[in-house]
Symmetry: C2
């Protein structure tokens, strides 16, 4: 006992040292976690203020700086709209609804070519969408080159095969077979154009410093709404698909910068003569809105 006592004390000391070490490491880790999450939330706050106060307007100076403008770089001008008589407003709104209501996502395309100027007008229309502080955080890669379309199909299908093999059960695969979506995406090569939609996660000034693009996904998605409406108006079909896990490889293939992220892949063209769509219905007005 006389001999063992100090030994026991040391024994406890060794364990204690290890324990204290572990605690210190864990405290350091949790400290970093907290500080980073604090940063995130503060960005959130800014973002909210930013978009709330300025969801569309704002000016862009020569450096591409999208901070809220000063009198110098952005004066205000009078704004008026074409004013239609009430009955014409009603007719226009009904016709536009009937037109847009014919739109369906199409997965079976004809290889018939489409004039590029039509696509350009469609993308210019998409570019009229509002965005947080007028940052316009979107970019479109319009691919018609057969080799590049093949490479896109290869990348997307390669990732899809992995998705289907590893992430989805047989029931899921059977279900998808029914709506004719498998890992195969032949339409990527058949359609005359594949438009890859990029959101610009942040912007870059000429001096290389970053511009925060608040709500870049929401803005880019609203922009895609205009794009889809413009395609339908022009008599062109597409399917709104997200290139699962293919984003980085598509970005590299298309030579886009690191601040851009591929969010959607839109094959564009005419439906094939034997194209089919699932026979589903849309929400009636009472499930869509309430008047107060």
């Amino acid at each position: 006992m006389d001999v063992s006592a100090p030994f026991i004390a040391n024994y406890w000391q060794y364990i204690l040292t290890v324990c204290i070490g572990i605690i210190i490491v864990q405290f350091i880790q949790s400290f970093y976690k907290n500080s980073s999450s604090t940063n995130r939330s503060s960005v959130d706050d800014n973002r909210k203020i930013f978009v709330d106060n300025d969801d569309d307007e704002g000016c862009v100076d020569d450096n591409g700086n999208q901070s809220v403008p000063t009198d110098d770089d952005c004066e205000h001008i009078p704004y008026g709209m074409v004013r239609y008589p009430n009955d014409e407003m009603l007719t226009r709104s009904r016709h536009f609804y009937e037109e847009m209501n014919k739109r369906r996502s199409v997965r079976f395309f004809s290889d018939e070519p489409v004039a590029l100027n039509v696509i350009e007008n469609v993308l210019l229309t998409a570019g009229t969408a509002p965005s947080g502080a007028h940052t316009e955080p979107w970019f479109f890669a319009v691919v018609s080159n057969p080799e590049v379309k093949s490479s896109i199909r290869e990348i997307v299908e390669e990732e899809e095969r992995i998705n289907y093999a590893k992430r989805m059960g047989q029931k899921w695969l059977d279900d998808l077979e029914v709506i004719k979506t498998t890992w195969r995406k032949p339409y990527i090569e058949t359609a005359p154009y594949v438009i890859v939609v990029f959101k610009q996660v942040y912007g870059l000034k000429k001096d290389g410093t970053r511009i925060v693009h608040y709500y870049n996904e929401m803005s880019s998605s609203i922009c895609v709404g205009f794009l889809l409406a413009a395609l339908q108006n022009a008599g062109l079909a597409t399917v709104t698909s997200t290139p699962m896990n293919s984003g980085p490889r598509l970005r590299q293939l298309l030579g886009r910068p690191v601040n851009e992220k591929a969010i959607l892949l839109l094959p564009v063209g005419f439906p094939s003569s034997d194209a089919t769509v699932p026979n589903f219905h849309r929400k009636p007005l009472e499930e869509l809105m309430v008047t107060i």
Copy 2:
């Protein structure tokens, strides 16, 4: 020493016990953190697969179940589009661009009333947007009641005052003064309608079980793109604003369920005769797209 040794040993034991206690607690905490984040990432994977394979189509059975359909609940039907001659496609696409390019975010409204059927057509048009597996994760509260509009303004301005007072410096406030956005939102009361856009974060079957709404924000934002295009087509103005920190109170005021989150607040009406907008420009085609 003979006396103190066991005492020292006990002394070490007490500290050791505390240390081990702390370590156990921290391990339990980190375990829960990891497991929850694992769930998130697995949901992410499903979501990606889901949207990639089925970003629009799918059928909804009587229970509102939006899982991928079987032959029974969703047959496929032939689909054709109106086919315009090439020159007409070009004309239509150019006219639609010119029409949409006139759209600007308006913050100065006339109190002149607008027919509700026009708003209904606009929202029906918004409802034609594609959504992940046709979940249609959106809902619109159309407010024309003056008292409710006042309450909305009260809620939004109250939150805004806090935002401006606590989160924004003088420089920021001065900048915002220039583009005429302060914490004051008089247009909420002036415009004949305030449309509050809700995204349905999840759906509910009749038996009360939840339906996951993958990409509900992206889908709802694309839907808002159609909504804004429809307003512009009808000759109506709006500003795409996000109700910063007001979402939960607006949801309660408007009596919407907990699965809905207010993402946008759109005053809708005619611009006032003295309405102005910042004189900014949109990206030219070469900054918008690349052809490959």
